[in-house]
Symmetry: C2
Subunit: 806 residues, 2 copies
């Protein structure tokens, strides 16, 4: 990292008049371009008086937050110029999009990314027209905004994205602006403690600017109206060194903000220098600086409109002059407002921003809009991956289904190797459940990260660790997003049910990637990988609140170009799938698999073939004569580990007790292969579908999640009426694993009954077998509570190979 | 409210030795019962030495947090006894379920609710056996726990539930324990600011006890290891008066906690007394007390096991002695541990808790486990509702579809009346969007609630207001849950996309209700009503992040007994549906409707009939001869306001340009009527389904949300292959409303093309009409950005009545 002298710090904190004039020119230009984007479709430089026809038919955008955002941006650029500091800008108040677009335009980055938005009057006209227009750009600082890694539409994630971006990015500062609206959200309030996980020696820094302008869309904010002493106390309590700037006077605010920014920067430098030269002392978490900036909402805009106060109130949140097309007085006021920035000083005759405006722009990749971290692929390098087969379970196929093991523990060992091979470009993010999810082998390679004090009783916990654990899905998911969007790799592992806590983040990240892959200057970024373990079926001990497979139902609605869902049935399949997803880019990969000991079905070679195809007939689990060309009596399909066991067990009961009934077992690993190819890129062809599921045989589909997911995926396939889906029916409680499947009718006995009921011919002996199955279920019901120790569990069950296929 | 004298306060703060002995006896009894539930299936009173056979086959439960929970409970009971204070206990560390179950047993409430769990040795045996056992009770403080309104499985919501419970409950204190694990979650961190919305004159109080025992399941917590001065500062910043208690010495901790609790209570009394006698002064938000209790995790349990430290570490989180069945040393240690509570002093010969133990129990409804607020129906009274027809749009059917209005504004006026008629039992909860969602008429009846300072520019904002706005879906949703679970009524209104932010809360509340309706002593509670407005289709101005109809996809998987989803097409239908849902109990009602001006279709009478049935043929929108008995060429079905307009417009194009093609329009308001009756209580009969959708005609279903919802609901209906669903395909950006439907192929022109393509006969002129539609779409594409002002919008479209049906 560059070491910055005290002289330079002093010069940042005490700008000359000339420097303030340059910052102010840039700021005025930026405010001008912001207003222009909101209002104008022509006459961008006010070469002639404004006319109603110059005004857009539909006025969109958010003015209120924009001048503050630009002020911060301008001063940061000046600091970068003086220091060579690497910095990105995270716009929490994402609705201030026009201000950030304007900034990137003034830095030339916008023109580099969008060559038709030229640095002249015609370019300005296009810049203005496209904003919030059909075929143009969205209104937020978002995917189309150079340098942005944060979509400010769904508020709450600015800080977690900032921290995710600087983990293992020691030279980077994420200058992160949080609006006082966003500051009210729970995810944002939960994010401040991220500094308890930030190591100043090896990570970069987040410089939060809490921008309090006092109001959200229609009313004041809590922090905007609290006693400033209370507000300061909150952040001091979180561990920050709070620097406050307040006012609206000019140029006074320039001097004061320059001083505050320089002070904050100096403190970051000092913290990092100490940590990097003297080492990090456990429990001495630095007091990182943050800035609280209080400036009026809608600053420099109209003070009053129609006699009503606008500037400094919630009324300036969006478009402060709404009647400009029809109200000559409003039009005049708009023109005065725009001319107050003195555009004639800011743009030359051709319409190009003048050198005075450009004077504070950093060069090249030092521009915040052009730093590689803001376009994460620029920092991307592929993961080094071990040969997963070296970690796999090698067994004789005759032993399949005859021993149990904790599949996710194998993933844990894969992650351990990945940590070793990629010491600074991979992290696991997990809400306090790494061990619980059986991924604890990672602790052989890395501790948990923790900057607070530790004791002798703590295990695998230190400032040097890189396993990210905090009891918050919002934080762990959000950190990973920031880490991936800046080009690094990772995995978010959660209890399946609590994947719903952060599912809105999953949705928003998917939307981000969907927009990003269509933008040619955006580099591809590592996929967001999600493991949902401790699943619905095996949270028998924790109860109903822990039993919810809802993430799958959400994620299958997202764009198929981005989303892949995997339900590996055993350890080797999990390893194969994991190896695959860690090589992908621009995707959201969701793996659902439980952590409890489970039967192992496929050898490494079989797992490879099965998972790459994504589905397949398990001939060894059925009893049809595949060469005969005859369809079986029933197809029992399955996707998900527990239900796969039940499906195989049901087929075994049929094989053993009703051998003349022909059953086929189909296992699906890549869930979306069930879709038609036109609905999902991995959808199986019509021929493959018919080969797996026949054309006419009924299919009893035993599914891990809610049945609707399968109904939705197979819709449009021929004769879908023959698909009978059994899944999680929201019947849960604290009970045994077997009772869970019984309650939801996905147990082996219910499946056998369903299978017999859905054959197209009458199976001799079927009625007897159904009666036997019902007896098993009745026996199960009898043994609750009072016969705890005698509960019929199925843990002593094992697969009996079919001699014909072993 | 009772006014409590200084003498009583003093006596709470300075207990006599005898009083401490009683508290301690109760506490020991409670700890004993906690351990018993985790370990024993027989020999509950240790009448003989423990044997391996006394131990449950599967050890479940969480010991670590339990002794602290019990200590707080005991002292609160003593306080209640002395003061007559009404109080409920909210168990944030919900995994400490056995401690709370034990407490309710010691209070007799458990036996009153579950008569087979008697107050004798056999009752104790049953109490122990049933815990975390199949057919027994779940492991959390949850639905089956008397007095609980909080499921502690998904952490984060203890405080919001507490605040929700005390709004408009002036005599109630919600004693709310927050564990240091939960304190790390974002929703919990976002909840502290609830005091900025709590009016001491008319609301009750929340007394938060932040119980720091230093660790979560496998490692320490941030606040458990931060400098205590920093921790205090966070809460002082949020506005609390922090009282700290720390230690493990006995009886010292009893004296210190009694003092702290008395001090906190005295401060609450003083705040409320001042507010209720002198009035509330805007901007003088009281400094409410809170307690930070630091006690060892697993306090009073085994100090070390196998030479490893247990008490005070993360290792005591769950079951500290795991080998008791097989390891004689562990078994001995368990017996020593249980005997350390001196059970012989705590239970009489019959096994009944002794009078010394019972001495601190409050009586009747003063027991925290028996307060009516903890069993919300006990406080329930139906809403007074105005006649919705008095607010409806009365119009001549000939005018249908020929004028637009903002439908949600009508709901706003209904809510205004509800506020007036039910001044203390109804609230609207909305993240800063009441006006934006056009519900602003409520402000005629009530301001927004705000305890911080206000200015002249603030509008409809005061400490006296009861409209709850804060920029947090987690808070607003969670407050409403607490409000409903204590028997009061309300509505949560959100932007549709951001309903996903709190969707996990929606899921968990649904799970709560699903369990509650099967428990006979749980009274019914008002339904949780959700309005999702500012929908995907009309967030054309805000862009892709605001375009997400995912809540519907989640909620339709929940149990049908609880969930109802409504998509009213116009204002009268919205009024009718709203009037209906506000009368329901024990449901989660989700209404999806946009706020923008939309066509009005149905007169009040028609709306009533249509919504009560839930679906219906709109004969006036089609052109078939219904009396003829002949099926139409196509059925265009629709659910959702924007897509209904497109469906009607498509039918109109066909009527006008291809009159010999027969089209039927079916509108669905109650989405789940599409289900089979066996899948949902409102599912339409086979006959109704056939009457609406015919048996064989293809159905083009134009849906508001993701298509999969419809695929899932109609699955199992005859010949579902004929359903062609068009819905939101995750194609969005900042654009125009019409471009939104075009991008997702739900626009009128695409629908006409689809309709013609899916008829079973060749329609003469069909090819020409398809070509005309394609031309319209091409023209639309040409007009982006550069011809903004000429964009073909469809806002000048109006319905042309079919002369045959007007």
């Amino acid at each position: 990292m560059p070491t910055v002298s005290q002289d330079i710090i002093d010069s940042i904190r005490n700008p000359s008049e000339q420097e303030v004039a340059h910052v102010d020119a840039w700021w005025r230009a930026n405010n001008y371009l912001t207003v222009g984007q909101i209002y104008l479709k022509s006459n961008p430089l006010l070469r002639r008086p404004l006319e109603p026809d110059d005004i857009k038919p539909r006025l969109l955008g958010h003015w209120g937050t924009s001048p503050g955002l630009s002020l911060i941006y301008a001063h940061a650029s000046r600091l970068i110029q003086k220091t060579g500091q690497e910095m990105i800008y995270i716009t929490g108040p994402g609705h201030g999009g026009p201000a950030i677009v304007a900034a990137t335009y003034l830095e030339d980055t916008y023109t580099e990314c969008f060559p038709d938005i030229t640095q002249d009057e015609e370019g300005l006209r296009r810049l203005f027209r496209q904003f919030s227009a059909p075929g143009g750009i969205p209104s937020h600082a978002s995917v189309t905004t150079p340098g942005s890694i944060n979509e400010g539409g769904e508020l709450g994630y600015a800080l977690v994205h900032g921290f995710g971006a600087v983990f293992d990015n020691p030279n980077l500062i994420a200058l992160t602006v949080v609006g006082d609206g966003e500051a009210e959200t729970a995810p944002l309030e939960g994010s401040w403690k991220s500094i308890s996980f930030l190591n100043p020696a090896r990570d970069g820094a987040v410089l939060p600017v809490l921008h309090l302008n006092g109001a959200k869309i229609a009313s004041p904010t809590v922090q905007g109206r609290k006693d400033p002493d209370e507000v300061r106390r909150i952040y001091e309590g979180h561990g920050y060194d709070v620097i406050e700037v307040e006012g609206s006077d000019l140029p006074g605010m320039h001097y004061r903000f320059a001083d505050a920014l320089g002070e904050a920067y100096s403190k970051i430098q000092s913290i990092q220098h100490t940590a990097r030269t003297e080492g990090v002392i456990q429990g001495r978490r630095p007091r990182w600086p943050m800035i609280i900036l209080r400036s009026p909402k809608g600053w420099t805009g109209p003070t009053t409109v129609d006699g009503v106060q606008i500037e400094g109130t919630w009324r300036s949140h969006q478009v402060p002059l709404s009647g400009v097309r029809d109200n000559p007085d409003h039009l005049r006021q708009l023109e005065e407002w725009m001319r107050s920035y003195r555009p004639e000083e800011l743009f030359d005759d051709a319409g190009r921003p003048t050198d005075a405006v450009r004077a504070i722009n950093p060069s090249g990749e030092w521009r915040m809009s052009a730093h590689p971290a803001g376009n994460g692929g620029g920092q991307y390098s592929p993961l080094e991956l071990p040969d997963w087969r070296s970690l796999a379970i090698d067994f004789d196929p005759a032993e399949r289904g005859r021993f149990r093991d904790e599949s996710t523990a194998y993933l844990g060992r894969l992650l351990e190797q990945i940590y070793r091979l990629n010491p600074t470009t991979f992290r696991l993010f997990c809400p306090d459940e790494t061990n619980s999810n059986r991924l604890g082998a990672v602790f052989n390679a890395s501790d948990r990260t923790f900057m607070e004090s530790t004791t002798e009783e703590d295990v695998k916990l230190s400032a040097d660790g890189r396993v990210m654990e905090v009891l918050s899905e919002h934080l762990t998911h959000g950190w990973l997003e920031g880490y991936c969007l800046t080009g690094r790799h990772g995995m978010f592992a959660s209890y399946e049910a609590f994947g719903m806590v952060s599912v809105s983040q999953t949705v928003q990240h998917t939307k981000w990637l969907k927009e990003a892959i269509d933008i040619d200057w955006r580099e591809s970024v590592p996929s967001l990988n999600i493991l949902l373990s401790s699943t619905a079926w095996r949270n028998d001990h924790n109860g109903f609140s822990h039993q919810g497979p809802g993430v799958l139902s959400t994620i299958v609605n997202m764009q198929g170009r981005i989303v892949r869902t995997y339900l590996p049935p055993d350890a080797n399949c999990l390893l194969e799938v994991s190896d695959y997803i860690f090589r992908t880019k621009d995707r959201v990969n969701v793996i659902v698999q439980d952590k409890q000991p489970q039967f192992q079905w496929l050898t490494p070679d079989e797992a490879h073939a099965h998972c790459r195809k994504g589905f397949g007939i398990w001939d060894w689990a059925g009893n049809e004569d595949l060469g005969s060309g005859a369809d079986p009596d029933i197809v029992i399909a399955c996707a998900g580990d527990v239900v796969t066991m039940e499906a195989v067990a049901a087929a075994q009961i049929i094989r053993q007790r009703l051998p003349h009934m022909k059953v086929r077992v189909v296992n699906v690993v890549r869930l979306q292969t069930l879709s038609r190819p036109k609905d999902h890129p991995t959808g199986m062809s019509d021929q493959d579908f018919a080969e797996a599921f026949t054309d006419t045989t009924d299919v009893l589909f035993c599914f891990h999640g809610y049945a609707g997911v399968i109904h939705q995926l197979v819709h449009g396939r021929p004769d879908v009426d023959r698909f009978h889906v059994r899944g999680f029916q929201e019947e849960g409680t604290t009970t045994t694993p077997f009772d869970m499947v019984v309650r939801n009718k996905t147990d082996r006995y219910s499946l056998v009954i369903d299978a017999i009921n859905n054959t197209r011919r009458t199976i001799r002996g079927g009625a007897d077998l159904k009666r036997w199955c019902e007896t098993q279920l009745e026996r199960h019901e009898e043994y609750k509570v009072e016969h705890l120790e005698d509960m019929p569990e199925i843990l002593d069950w094992a697969f009996e190979p079919n001699p014909a296929y072993s």
